[in-house]
Amino acid sequence: MVFSVVIFKHRQTSENVDDVLLEQVFKDLMSRGFKILERLNDRMFIAEKKSKYLFYVMVEGIEVTTQTLLSFINMGETLSMDTVLALVSNDGTVTYYFVRKIRLPRNVYAEGV
C-alpha cells in the first residue's frame, strides 16, 4: 500500500526528475565554456562556443521516433547549425554526438559494371 503511493508520487513528479537531468546538460555545457542562448522546447536548445549548435537532449531509456530525430536534424539544417545530441544517463552523465543526414554521392571508385 505504501509502496503504490510512492510510485504514484514518483509518476506525478517525473517531469521534475527529467528536469534534473536536463539541468545536468546545461551545467556540463557551461563548464565547457558554452553559453545557453535559447531554449526552443523542453528538449531542444541553442548553445554557443565559437559557433552555435542546436542541441537535443536524449535521456537514457526514453525513445524518440525517427521522425522526431529527422525534424531536429532538418531544423539544424534550416538554421545552419551543427546538430548535437546530448545523451544523458539515468544518473546524469552527459555524452555528446553530432548527428547529420548523410547524402551519399555516387562512389567515385566504383568499378566498371
Partner: protein, 183 residues
C-alpha cells in the same frame, strides 16, 4: 553465369565466373579466403559464396542465374519470398543493400562489426575503415543507448557510424551519420 542456391546462400562453382563477379564489385567471398585483393583473384580457384542479398541483386540485374540443386531456375521473386520467410525485415534491408550498391559502393556483411553492413568505397582489404551501418527498424524509436552502442562498433577514434532506416512515409532510405563530439 550460374549459381546454386543452397539454403540461404548461393554458390558459384565456375571459377572464371566467380572471379569476374568478385572483380566487378567484390561480390561474394571465396570459400576459404578472406579480403582477397583484386590482383590476387586470378590465382584463386575456389567456389564463391554469395549472400542472399548479393545473389538477388545480381539476379535482378541479369548478371546471375540462380538455380536449385536439381538445376531448375530460381527467379528473383522466389529469392525474395525465401528472404521474407527467413530473414526479419528482409525488404527494408534489401532496399538498403540496393541503395548502396546502386551508388557504386561495396556492401559486405556487418556481422563481425556487430552491425548490418560494412560499406566500402574501394573494397575490403583496401579501405581501412568501412562505413559501419546499423539497421534501425522503422517502427522502433531510437534511444540514447542505440547511439552509444553504435559508437562502440566503429574502430575509428572519431566513433563514426551510420544508422540506416526506411522512411515509413516516403519509402526512402534514410541515412543518419553519428560521430562522437568532443565539445
Amino acid at each position: 553465369m550460374k549459381g546454386v542456391l543452397k539454403g540461404l546462400a548461393v554458390v558459384v562453382e565456375d571459377v572464371e565466373f566467380a572471379r569476374k563477379l568478385y572483380k566487378e564489385g567484390f561480390y561474394g567471398r571465396f570459400l576459404g579466403y578472406d579480403k582477397v585483393r583484386r590482383e590476387e583473384v586470378d590465382k584463386i580457384s575456389a567456389p564463391l559464396i554469395l549472400a542472399l542479398y548479393e545473389a538477388l541483386y545480381l539476379a535482378e540485374r541479369g548478371k546471375l542465374k540462380v538455380v536449385s540443386k536439381n538445376g531448375t531456375e530460381v527467379l528473383p521473386e522466389k529469392l525474395i519470398e525465401l528472404g521474407r520467410e527467413k530473414i526479419k525485415n528482409f525488404d527494408d534491408i534489401y532496399k538498403i543493400y540496393k541503395y548502396f550498391r546502386d551508388l557504386g559502393y561495396v556492401v559486405k556483411s556487418g556481422l563481425k562489426f556487430g552491425a548490418l553492413f560494412s560499406v566500402y568505397e574501394r573494397g575490403p582489404g583496401i579501405d581501412h575503415a568501412p562505413m559501419v551501418v546499423v539497421f534501425l527498424e522503422p517502427d522502433r524509436g531510437i534511444s540514447a543507448t542505440d547511439i552509444t552502442r553504435g559508437g562502440r562498433l566503429s574502430h575509428s577514434v572519431k566513433k563514426t557510424f551510420t544508422l540506416a532506416t526506411v522512411s515509413k512515409q516516403t519509402g526512402e532510405v534514410v541515412l543518419l551519420g553519428f560521430s562522437w563530439a568532443k565539445l
